[in-house]
Assembly symmetry: D2
């Protein structure tokens, strides 16, 4: 439990160096339940040995699956979808005797039981299976570890590979000296061994069904330098801002952003309109937990806890402010009020509903 | 993880006061694997709701059961026998529709799958089932919580009961204001609700099989004021010492003990022989962990780390020293050497192999 | 020890609500020694009661002062300048009998012993003294807590004050519902009681000496919405960028920033030159500790661990990149290399040496 | 903070192996304030280098000394007597130029300022000074580390010494392979270097004043195998029981003890009277903290939480029960009540007020 930097220190990392294969998992708990029990990877022993499973996603038919497993007599020890997936993989009756074929059959069986949403890493002995659900709801991509000697640009044509890495977001590759190789396709089952990446199967969607990549990855989940479907997230966000300028131009003095995920869209909007891009808010990096709300004072503060106001930059001006999306709708209206109270003459706000363009 | 006094402080206890029902578990890890995952009670969700299971014992057919469960498709997440029991209870197909009957059937089914050894507490909704395996290998007994007003001896005839408690050892009852009520019998399934204790069934052993109560409970596991099979542990230990004096008298100056579990036997031996009981060793309470053995010096110290020597008490004397049992046999011989080096003229040692008498 | 959000949770905050007066301290350990002992405030008992001292700054004559105190017989238990200040305050012989006058005399005596650098909060009984050294090296400012009912803009003319707050940076006031009141002046000793803020004295610098406000507060320490010397930090940074454009214009396709402290300067430069402002790097927020450098691979990565590259934004372009300052000089050159390797046609870099303009 | 076994694990011990000199301290907080700040040894930097001080005792003139130090301008950061001693050692003006003489002069000066009670270890560079106050209130003794090869009785005549150890109680020596060498005398200043133990001075008490060794060391502080003033603690306790039997014989059936510090006296009493020694109580080892007293039930339990009752051993009998001392007087009376309620026919109790005999 805790931030990666606290959990993985020099001592705990040293213990991992005995191996050349591993999976890990970090998550921002969306459901608010952040318990040790739900920590991934889930490890269970099965008839064919131990498997470890890391899962990104939420099962659409989790309630039905829980019941099905329990009816079969499996006691479930967590509230996690990821335990469901792990038990489903353990549970599926072995179809063939060959061990490799076996796990592919089990994975395909899992896909049959629950079509979406999951990106998975399954470790079994010396193999890691990387799997994306047939709808491709959550991202998953493969990177190639570049040999150390090649990293500084010398010998870039060197085609040797030191190893393979898999991640939800390609931005992580640069930080460890790997380069983007390719996406795992929707429905694809990839087998990764020490030096080899091999597609075992691509399970199709039901005919007529479109893919369903999560739009919020483009909107604010992903880091802007990540690549999804062949395009950099930043570029998608900026094009959205440009399109917004075409569809909804405003007479104003300046364009600004609710930092930080809306910044590319704001720059795109400003550029397309020919208006100056100006910063009006700065983020308060130290506002984290919501539990520190012990009295009415802090509850009333609301958005002022999250942002500082750069009032010199917009006093007496007409401001266009771009936010990345509208989820609960409780952020943009206090921001507009804050800007007006701090001296803005007029505030027009836009919520960029990113669409794939 | 940790000592009860560290884990359950005022804050963590306060959270438990919302309820009038609960089970807990503390263990001295015999297998050396002391992991958070193996902490009890095991809680799983089943088709009929959550169950929590606390288990004392070791399954004799654990390997076969693990395989059986895994063959059925249950992934096991720990190395613990207790998880096996919990999954077996979840797994057993429901036999009847009535909910109560259901759990009794499941518990009997469990007894059928694994005859020994376990004492169990199973919590389900507002019921706790207390179960001992048919061989009665591990102890389990029931206590009655005395209403507060009655505790100081006034109104002892008051037959009201404030609640029920179940424990491996009866000695714990006194400490919380409860009194010993009775043992759970070998094979017995007891249902405990708020005000009621009810025997649901007593599953018999295979014909001809004797009961198999763990002899080491008498020898050194149990606290001497605990009651098993109607007799106080202390009395059993003392009678063993007396019997030893009959079977193996020694000409000596004094009788002593390896503190502390052998003390009742030593006192019994001394009394029967008419020899004075004298203390020759005192325990070093602060020797705990074995990991602090960083150099040859400490490794060589051996038994001297564990005991202080009261040499004034036995210099020039012939000493009979009683220990409770012989397990690895690496304690008594260094003790004899230590006593001789510290001035004993002669040392006779006895290992009391307690038997039920 | 740890982040504020971890240390001050609901429980630990509750314990503080018994009082209406307090001082706290948080620091980024510049000297690398981050020990519990050095945590502030320092609390010592003196002849006139307990004092608690929080200190921002570094004493220029610390070595001499340590020796002086030790020669006088004071044993020092930490390596911290702040302990020196606390002991100097305890040590100074009382000059008058009146208690208030006494502490002012002690503070003035301290200023005499060590002219710079320190901003101090000294708590004694129900008084807090806010003190800035005569050179004004570190910032310190006072905020006014606005009554809750007035916070949402209604009744802004209400002149009531609910309390006073003091901070290194004014940006913190907005987050707790306070408003900027004024700076503590260089050499000023301010006495703060529950409802009153009173200047007790302003100790002058030696004649001819200029003030010496730390330039790095403007450059990168401070949050851009903080106010120093009557001007918003953001505005100072932007004006520096504009001035740079006047003094050193470049023929290029776009202007960018090393995020984030250089962004105002980059926007100022871009605007003055009439070049587009474009983002080329994004920060890797999860790179923190440097201890995770276990192998050659990660050591070689260098700057690539810290930044993601938005290559789509600058491929084939001539880039002007603005950084806030040059300290060790080991950041900008790998960034230039990274940009060139990622497709920039030309990279010109500027390090804004902010000066007060 | 915490038990030695938790704080000093394999990792933390490894860091200490770089050195051949060290002092440590463990304490049972008598004043109830158990804070990290009060942990010893106290380390301060003085004009002549760092000193570390470990202290056992309580200063009789602490209040006056605190005031004296504070009047001199030393701010005190803890409520601990040990900080007073450390600051007094730092504070005393150096009397001579020679460094060794200097510390002896400082220690003698300290003895002048505060006559009792303290046993001290003072570490400075490669020297440890062992000091006992002139009244000899707290114990301190020296042990000789026996070379490893000699520990098993071979070559006992080997007069080589591997090092020296100093401890409050001699019982600790056996556990680390050292043997008792001698006590530090009241008022003695012993200088210990790597291979040498040297008396620097023995400061006398004021004429006519008797020594004042703490009687409770004999009564219950010390482990029974420790040696004070040339006699084993166990023997003193037993002789007290024998003397009690002479002065106050009782007609009874058995003699017992409140475990465990009264056991030697009970055995002595029983032997002298010719009555059998029988155990009637057993200690509940798991009762530690008093904070777990959340409701009336547990508060009413009182002594029953601390002891189990071995009722089989004394039902219908006349019991003499020996306790070690009477401090608050709130233990023996509930014990008598507990024994009577559990079936004792008569209970006579004695509190052994140990005196030096």
């Amino acid at each position: 439990m805790g931030l990666i930097n606290h959990v993985f220190n020099a001592d705990s990392l040293k213990k991992l160096y005995v191996s050349n294969l591993g999976i890990g998992h970090t998550r921002y708990s969306t459901s608010g339940i952040s318990e040790l029990q739900n920590c991934q990877p889930f490890v269970v022993e099965t008839l064919h040995g131990k498997i470890a499973v890391a899962h990104n996603g939420e099962l659409t038919n989790a309630v039905r699956l829980r019941r099905k497993l329990m009816r079969h007599g499996v006691g479930l020890s967590t509230s996690s979808d990821s335990e469901l997936i792990t038990q489903l993989l353990a549970f599926t009756p072995p179809l063939e005797n060959d061990d490799t074929a076996d796990w592919v059959a089990r994975i395909k069986n899992l896909m049959n039981e629950t079509p979406t949403s999951y990106s998975l890493l399954i470790m079994h002995k010396d193999i890691i299976y990387a799997v994306r659900d047939p709808y491709g709801n959550r991202p998953l991509c493969i990177g190639r570890l570049i040999p150390v000697g090649d990293m500084n640009g010398k010998g870039k044509d060197n085609s040797e590979t030191e190893g393979w890495v898999v991640s939800s977001e390609s931005c992580s590759f640069l930080s460890i000296g790997a380069e983007y190789y390719r996406e795992v396709l929707p429905g694809e089952i990839v087998k990764i061994s020490r030096y080899d990446v091999q597609t075992l199967d691509v399970v199709p969607r039901p005919e007529g069904d479109p893919s369903a990549f999560c739009i919020f990855e483009y909107v604010y989940f992903a880091r802007p330098d990540s690549i999804f479907e062949g395009q950099m997230v930043y570029s998608v966000r900026r094009r959205c801002g440009q399109q917004l300028a075409i569809e909804a131009p405003v007479e104003a003095d300046l364009v600004s952003t609710v930092p930080e995920s809306a910044t590319p869209a704001a720059l795109g909007y400003a550029q397309k309109c020919g208006l100056p891009y100006v910063e009006v808010l700065c983020k308060n990096r130290y506002v984290g937990r919501t539990f520190i709300q012990p009295n009415m004072r802090l509850r009333q503060l609301g958005v002022a806890k999250k942002f500082g106001v750069l009032s010199d930059n917009f006093k007496g001006k007409r401001v266009v402010i771009i936010d990345d999306s509208i989820v609960r709708g409780n952020t943009i209206s206090p921001i507009i009020k804050l800007l007006r109270e701090s001296g803005a003459k007029e505030v027009s706000s836009f919520l960029v509903c990113t669409v794939q363009i």
